[in-house]
Each structure stands twice: as C-alpha cells, then as structure tokens.
C-alpha cells in the first residue's frame, strides 16, 4: 500500500512536471474552532491539526479534521462532545470537499487580500450536506493564510440534543477555519 502510494506520487510528479505540482498548496496544521452560545454556558473548542489541500490550478479544495483532536478545557464537556453528540469513535472525521468558485480571481503568488466563494459538501457525524460560504485569502511575503467563518445547524448533521438539556444547548454552532498554506513542493 505504502509502496503503491509512493509510486503514484512519484509518477504524478514525473508526468505533471513541476508546473502542476507547484500549483498545489497544503497545510497539516489547520485550525478549526467552534463556538456555541447557550444560556447555561458557552461551548468552545479548538483543533490545530486539520489537513487541507488546495489546487490553485482548478480551485479544488479539501479539508479534514479529526473530531478527537478538539481540545476543551473541561473534561466532561470533551467527553460529552465526543460520546453523546459527535459519536467520534464511529465518525472520527469531519470533511469538506469542494471548490473555490472564483479561483481565477485569486493569485496566491501575489501579495494581497482576496475574497473567495467556497462551495461543496461538508460531512460531519457521517452526514453530508451541501454548503456555500465565503473565505478570505491573505497573501503576504509568500505566506498564505485562508480564513472562513460559517454556521452549521446540528440538526442538518443528525446530531441530537438530549431533551433534558435541549434548552441549554444552542442549535447552531459557529465554525472558524484558519489555514496557513504552503507550497506542496516544499515538503
């Protein structure tokens, strides 16, 4: 499996040459945080180990984060999040697969601030849903930082809130994404 993966990778590099490879950007330390305001208390957590690949040639974008990598301050909150809501043993990842629809208007090799329109499929808790949101690319001195903030409704992803705490937990959650992209050939 590993050998096959390596061969495919080498093959891709050979076939496409540096031209195409140099268009791909990635991060392995993407930040995802979520925040939900509720009458009893605010719920927030962050992960800094998200992975993403962006192909600047066609705007194709992939993002993935491990649910168990989210860090909470309170142990019990972390446990409830994983066991009661996200069922993260059964559904260990959240994924986004989509495109930056206005990629042609964004030049990642040129300093500036760019607005991006992102659309695709978000998978959380094993359920897929089409989403569209805005993102911002900040390119400065060769550094690329992409950020986005959007809301998700727990019900869209089949995340059930037990009735005893129904009024204490918000039905929507704000998700913030931050990726520091690097050129793939720097790996």
């Amino acid at each position: 499996m590993m050998i096959i993966k390596k061969m495919i990778f080498i093959l891709l590099v050979l076939v496409s040459g540096n031209q195409l490879v140099a268009q791909k950007y990635f991060t392995k330390k993407g930040e995802v945080s979520f925040f939900s305001h509720a009458p009893m208390e605010d719920i927030k957590a962050v992960s800094n180990t998200g992975s993403s690949v962006l192909d600047a040639a066609n705007g194709k974008l992939q993002w993935a984060v491990l649910i168990k990598s989210f860090a909470f301050t309170k142990a019990l909150m972390q446990e409830h999040f994983n066991e009661n809501y996200m069922e993260s043993t059964q559904f260990p990842k959240a994924k986004f697969t989509g495109t930056i629809d206005n990629m042609t208007a964004i030049d990642l090799k040129k300093d500036g601030e760019y607005n991006a329109q992102v659309s695709g499929v978000l998978e959380i808790h094993g359920k897929e849903k089409k989403i569209a949101t805005n993102a911002k690319f900040l390119v400065a001195k060769g550094k690329i930082i992409a950020t986005s903030v959007f809301k998700v409704y727990l019900a869209d992803y089949g995340i059930e809130i037990p009735s005893v705490v129904k009024d204490k937990i918000a039905k929507e959650v704000e998700i913030s994404i931050k990726s520091n992209y690097e050129l793939l050939d720097k790996m």
């Binding site: 390596k6 168990k68 909470f72 019990l76 043993t89």
Partner: protein, 109 residues
Amino acid sequence: MYNKEVDKVADLKTDQKVEAKTLLTEFESDELAANKLYLDKTIEVSGMVTKVEENEGITSVYLASEEGLSAVICQMEEAVNVAVGSEIVVKGVCSGYLMDVIMVRCIIL
C-alpha cells in the same frame, strides 16, 4: 466535578507502546482496525524526529516521515527542544489518521 479540567497526559496510564513506523503502517494499511486499537488511547510512540515545527505558539514534532508523504505528527503540550534526527519517545493521545497519524496533548518521555 463538572469543572474538572482535562487530564494531563503525564497522569494517564499508557494503553499501548508502538514504534512510529509501525503505527503509520498500521493506519495506512487498515485504518478501521488501527482506529480500534489506537483511537483515543494514550500511547507511547518511539521514533526518529524528522521535523520540528512552530505555528502560532504550538510545537509539532514529526516522527518517521516518509519522504514528505506522511508522518506521525505529535502536537506538543508545550514548547520542546529536540533535534531533528534524534530518537525519542512521545506520550500522547491518538486522535486518528488524516494524511498523517495525529497525536495530541503530547509530552516527551
């Protein structure tokens, strides 16, 4: 009780001990089986440091990278001073596999 903070990894009992290369191979060949063994478990991973990275105050130590493809990425609890090429043992909690095996809340033993 409700306000109890998340346990420090140093206080957790080690569930598994494994070499970084083996861990990576296990996830690459059968992610579901590897998840059963390692997901959310406190594990001690031994291997060679292939990269150390600092990002917004968070240190990540890469073990057993294969020519830039994938690695065991250990997100450290605090900044550490390790040299690329050294052999270390990291204790942390395995949160699963994306392009890499991800370990969080890690400390160096």
